[in-house]
Symmetry: C2
Subunit: 244 residues, 2 copies
DNA sequence: GACCTTTAATTGTCTGACATTCATAGATCA
DNA sequence: TGATCTATGAATGTCAGACAATTAAAGGTC
């Protein structure tokens, strides 16, 4: 009889897990070179293609990087914030698109997290952050802008807000929440009127940050959440009407 | 001359990216079967091992699952919250351990995010959540508990707090932040006195949630952050003293 | 001393084969 | 008929061996 403990994952998965454990538990340190594929094959008593499949699994998680040529090989990779962002964003985006997460739920999560940054951002924002935000606000006011570009600019604005909190861990966590919303936001058709409304709130946020007034930032974010929610619900209602 | 646009990633990486795009952009839907490895090899004009390496990359990100036997193959996987948690946690943990993130930064991020859940949790907490939290508080009060078990219980308590916000997207995002802190927390030796202090604050949090008082939850979380920070700094100071 | 060439190690890729798994279809038997 | 057993074939999993491409370092040439 087969029970749950009988599970026999692929050899390549087992080997990947063994190496992953070694890395996570600190038995292999950053930039340390793994044995060559041939050596690993011998150690684990499998063929080279199997080892390679294991290494590709790890490479997909940015746990290792490989280098060809003499003195090349696979090295434990220092997971950079950039790489982590990327992973975070694809995972979050797929999670949202595949699990029928409602617009309301995603919106609520995103703005709750963003408000968590507000007090820190109000304290630590630099002129640089403010300049970025003002520039994005200006772009958002251009009349000829496509909906897609408007959304992209919106994301850039909010990333600047998050980055203003000057906490890389927060930025990393928030990247997923903000970017994953984009596909949902892209479904919205922004009228001139709604764009004006959003630009207005963005300006309030930038002003409040400039004045170091955390409470006003919080307030503006709540207004933006409420307004975004209405826009999203209109889209959903429209959709439901078309495909009953 | 080679410039940045000349980059030629591995064939397996290219193929993985092509399939990943198809999934992310919705051209392949959940549970849809990919062509067989032999067919993919023909389509992309590469050998089967190369295709397999690409598929393993995708499997490592939980984007596909494979099934052996007749009518088996690779299928687009519905990314579950469980799988996403797992990825999130390993990535966050590695990010923190590999990038010399200070205790202060990690702590600040974690509690900022957790406070973001507080208002929602205060509104939506169920008796179930409260029961879990009380149970963990009780466990934390046991005298014989090891530091590791105390930490594990601490994590369980905070997960219950996060889950009480009843927003799966928030839970997912927070899982990384809370769990990734554990290796850092594990370095702390909890004295009977500090445990008592923490249990006290946990009790305040549970009480405030029970009374639906968001402001008091927020306040208790701030107290907990301040206290955790002190404990962490003591550890760091001790360490610095030992290895000057 | 600067530049070129060889060399060896290592990853990337291909070919072909065999092992293993498993749903279905067909064969067997009560 | 109906149930059970047994091929069958399609697919993934694994292996072995080979060659191509890349690259750092050693050695040779001017």
């Amino acid at each position: 009889m087969k029970n749950a403990t009988d599970k026999k994952p692929d050899l390549s998965a087992q080997i990947a897990q063994a190496i992953r454990d070694a890395i996570v538990e600190g038995r292999m340190i950053v930039d340390e070179r793994l044995p060559s594929e041939a050596e690993l094959a011998e150690q684990f008593d499998v063929s080279r293609p199997t080892v390679r499949e294991a290494l590709k699994r790890l490479a997909a998680q940015s746990l290792i990087r490989t280098q060809r040529g003499a003195f090349g090989g696979a090295f434990v990779n220092r997971l950079s914030y950039e790489e982590a962002y990327g992973q975070q964003i694809t995972t979050s985006t797929l999670l949202l698109s595949m699990n029928a997460v409602s617009f309301e739920t995603a919106c609520e999560a995103r703005y709750a997290l963003e408000r968590a940054c507000a007090p820190l951002a109000a304290t630590r924002r630099t002129p640089d952050h403010l300049a970025t935000m003002r520039a994005e606000i200006h772009r958002q006011s251009q009349p000829g802008l496509s909906d897609e570009s408007f959304c992209a600019s919106d994301v850039a604005f909010h990333r600047a807000l998050v980055d203003a909190a000057d906490n890389p861990v927060l930025s990393y966590q928030l990247a997923g929440a903000v970017e994953a919303m984009q596909p949902l936001m892209n479904m919205i058709t922004f009228t001139a009127r709604s764009r004006g409304e959003i630009v207005g709130i963005h300006t309030r946020i930038a002003d409040a940050l400039e004045a170091h007034q955390a409470a006003r930032v919080d307030e503006a974010l709540r207004a933006l959440e409420a307004y975004t929610l209405i826009l999203g619900q209109n889209v959903m209602a429209e959709r439901a009407r078309k495909t009953p």
